[in-house]
């Protein structure tokens, strides 16, 4: 006996054309690239212009002939003159000195503070953690007037080392906040296992938490470095002598005399000053993003 297949055509409501997922993804990708391109152009214009100007002689810059986006007679003289300039070398060394010390101090304070606030239950720890972060919200432009009085009374006016007291006020709150988020994301059972294994809190911090939270520590270190290296307002307010200045304010004060702007050297100096953070970000960008996002989503 053969079997027959009976098919019936039932009335089906017309389906709206949705488009394939593939084409939707493609459209999203192109739209993203278009939007990002706008931002890339917008943010890259100043550095590109800086680079172009740094390769020009003062004569070419002030000549106002031809396109400002083209270099007629490229030269590295601006870079060379700065690198062999004693003042610029001094600014660079001061910046390096202060940044290394500030980063070390910031991380020492932030890690210890974050560990105790995130892991050691004590009265007021939650309030303290919130308070630490809230201090970050106070703009530095409001703080530098009372800071001026404090630095003056400490006798540290016009002293590079005053920045060692000032920069951590900007970097410690945010770094502590990052580390609190990162430490909080580490399972509590790890503490308990370490306590039972015989670890003290300091041993727990150095042998377990710091290694496990290294991406977050790297992210916080990068942030502290960026804040210290690129800080302008506080050195501007507290340092007057050339030998005490750091890169950010030294470039401006040494290369702008009255109404004379040595644009070529200013641009070259700015580019060379920006190089260390660029190199660090280039190598550690993945850690930075992972450190910021992991702490945020798991905390």
């Amino acid at each position: 006996m053969s079997s027959t297949t009976v098919t019936t055509t039932a009335a089906v409501a017309p389906r709206q054309h949705q488009g394939s997922l593939e084409s939707q993804r493609r459209w999203a990708m192109w739209a993203s690239y278009a939007a990002l391109s706008v931002f890339v152009v917008f943010f890259l214009v100043p550095p590109v212009y800086t680079l172009i100007t740094s390769l020009k002689t003062s004569k070419e810059i002030s000549g106002l002939q031809g396109s400002p986006w083209l270099v007629q007679h490229p030269t590295f003289a601006n870079f060379w003159e700065l690198m062999t300039n004693e003042n610029y070398q001094n600014f660079f060394i001061n910046s390096v000195k202060i940044t290394i010390c500030v980063v070390a101090l910031t991380m020492a304070i932030s890690i210890l503070a974050a560990f105790s606030l995130a892991r050691m239950r004590f009265w007021g720890s939650a309030t303290l953690a919130t308070g630490v972060f809230l201090t970050y919200l106070v703009p530095e432009s409001l703080l530098f007037i009372p800071m001026f009085q404090i630095v003056g009374k400490l006798g540290l006016m016009n002293n590079t080392w005053s920045l060692l007291l000032l920069y951590p006020t900007l970097s410690v709150p945010f770094c502590t906040w990052i580390m609190i988020g990162y430490f909080s994301s580490i399972p509590k059972e790890l503490d308990e296992a370490a306590l039972i294994d015989g670890a003290s809190y300091m041993q727990m911090l150095f042998r377990i938490f710091i290694p496990v939270a290294m991406p977050g520590i790297i992210a916080a270190t990068i942030f502290a470095f960026t804040v210290s290296w690129g800080q302008f307002l506080y050195p501007m307010a507290f340092l007057y002598s050339t030998d005490q200045m750091v890169l950010t304010v030294g470039i401006i004060s040494d290369l702008i005399r009255g109404d004379v702007f040595q644009w070529g050297k200013i641009m070259a100096g700015s580019l060379m000053a920006a190089l260390p953070p660029v190199i660090i970000y280039a190598f550690l960008m993945d850690y930075y993003i992972a450190g910021l996002t992991a702490g945020a989503t798991k905390g």
């Binding site: 399972p187 059972e189 790890l190 308990e192 296992a193 370490a194 306590l195 039972i196 294994d197 015989g198 670890a199 041993q203 042998r207 377990i208 290694p211 496990v212």
Partner: protein, 366 residues
Amino acid sequence: MAQVSIRKVVKMYEGDVQAVKGIDLEINDHEFVVLVGPSGCGKSTTLRMIAGLEEITAGEISIGGDVVNDVPPRDRDIAMVFQNYALYPHMSVFDNMAFGLKLRKFPREEIKRRVDEAAGILDITELLLRKPKALSGGQRQRVAMGRAIVRNPKVFLFDEPLSNLDAKLRVQMRTEIKLVHQKVNTTTVYVTHDQIEAMTLADRVVVMNHGVIEQVGPPQELYHHPATRFVAGFIGSPAMNFLPCRVVQHGDGLAVRVSDTITLPITPERRDRYAPYKDKAMTFGLRPEHLVEYRDNAKQGVTRMDAMVDVVEPMGMETMVHFHTIGEQMCARIDPNAYAAPNEVLALNADMNNMHLLDPESGRVV
């Protein structure tokens, strides 16, 4: 000596939440005791108080004869295995196991000897150089056990170590834990919510509910002679069937009257025991394994009971039949070859030799 004594221990949290309500328990040296109960019963809190990870509100805990209320965890000579393993992710398996010994400044050779020995017991020697992320769940749990074994502590504490594993691995690891206990013979306190784990692993089972101990005893005692309705319903899978009933006169003896159509004669041996409850409203309890398919040649004490089948669950080695009686859902365990179909009447044998009678007011088994 590594006995653990828990005397009138209370744990209160903020807001007057009493997680543990004054419990007493003596755990003997070398004994494997399992704390079992539903979530929130206080079993993990009790374990954590033994470990020193929770403060004791009142009462006393002693390990090996020494009161440890104010002793930090590192000095209690205990080792703990956690539910989610708690392995140090940046350390190798060897370093995880050696960490506690390094902190205590053991010589390197002794550390290596102990780690190798524990790895051999747990069959993880080839994993010593790996990091935890390169291990399966079962391997990680074995490493966690190895970390405890190398310490050679007075007491092992296990906090639901198999809960994160799949069903098949759980069965395998259960056997391994039992084998390890047989080898190292250390006093063990094991917390689980799985009564099958409790029954298969324990020398004694402590059933907890709402912060109190309902019953303590060997697994078979809890199974055959539960003290309370909670224990009767918690131990055994599937759970015991409960029916409201009345104890009535039945000829020369007594019977459990469940409904107008269901009257189950009580065996003569239990007549005197249940006589005080004649004409009283009680609760009848019978395990599914004591409700089997009807046979003519049943032994004494077995009574026929008919059931309208709702659901049939063939399990392979047995068939579970779900039915309802006077509005109560019940379960019977029949031979896999016996016929049963939904919406049909199935004749069953109720083995009244294994019945339980419970006082509905106190919840106690009489």
